[in-house]
């Protein structure tokens, strides 16, 4: 494994973090996860009529589907960007002798991303001062 792999993985980590935060992927995931308890509350509600429940549940179903497709597309974009960086680096500099799959599934990649991403996230938004 070439030493050039380390800056490549660091760049991948930074790009992943930036896109993940700027595209609000986490907000979409949270919205999808919050729909389930809300739908359960509506279905079990004693105050709503069946017609109101039917309308609300249909609307929620469409909302869940839309949110799911949106966050899947965003996540695919984020992962595709990281993959593009790795593929470009591999094509230009032959970073790993095992090809792109070998580069992505190496322990270096995991270790570098595990170190770079938390450090970058901390540097980008430092913790509020205590006291």
């Amino acid at each position: 494994m070439n030493l050039l792999a380390l800056p490549v993985f660091a760049l991948m980590g930074v790009v992943f973090h930036e896109l993940f935060v700027r595209l609000h992927v986490l907000r979409d995931i949270r919205r999808v996860l919050h729909i389930a308890p809300a739908a359960t509350r509506i279905i079990r509600s004693d105050t709503l009529s069946d017609l109101e429940k039917e309308t609300a549940v249909r609307r929620m179903s469409l909302a869940v589907l839309g949110d799911t497709l949106r966050f899947t597309a965003k996540l695919a974009l984020v992962l595709g960007a990281c993959l593009a960086i790795a593929a470009t680096a591999q094509a230009l500099f032959a970073v790993s002798p095992d090809g792109l799959y070998g580069l992505l599934s190496s322990w270096w990649a995991l270790a570098a991303l595990l170190v770079v991403m938390p450090v970058y996230a901390r540097l980008r938004s430092p913790a509020p001062a205590r006291g």
Binding site: V57, R58, L62, T72, L110
Partner: protein, 111 residues
């Protein structure tokens, strides 16, 4: 004195000991199969990282939730409305009044 239906009357400790003793015999075939499968498989180059794993989980959850909600909205409530019990129709006020008029008056205290 122990109640006849109390769970304390069941010798739980003996049952647990028997189950624990039988566990290795039951697990042995599964463990052998798992080991064989793990040794014989070829590298798949199919590493699923936390990002993709989160995405797959979220997508499956979202699609599943959408399908369940759509089933409720498109099937359950319309079918319930079509085949469910109808609410009892309230008796019209006139009918109730007519029934009251036909009933003999028992509140008369004159005689």
């Amino acid at each position: 004195m122990t109640h006849p239906f109390s769970t304390r009357s069941i010798p739980m400790r003996a049952l647990r000991a028997q189950a624990l003793a039988a566990l290795p015999r039951r697990l042995l075939p599964s463990a052998l199969l798992l080991t064989l499968g793990a040794t014989l498989c070829a590298p798949a180059h199919a590493y699923l990282g936390p990002g993709a794993g989160l995405g797959v989980f979220g997508t499956l959850f979202g699609i599943g939730a959408a399908i369940v909600l759509a089933l409720f909205g498109l099937l359950w409530y319309p079918l319930k409305r079509a085949f469910g019990k109808k609410a009892p129709v309230p008796v019209a006020d006139e009918t109730r009044m007519a029934a009251d008029l036909e009933r003999p008056d028992t509140t008369d205290t004159k005689g």
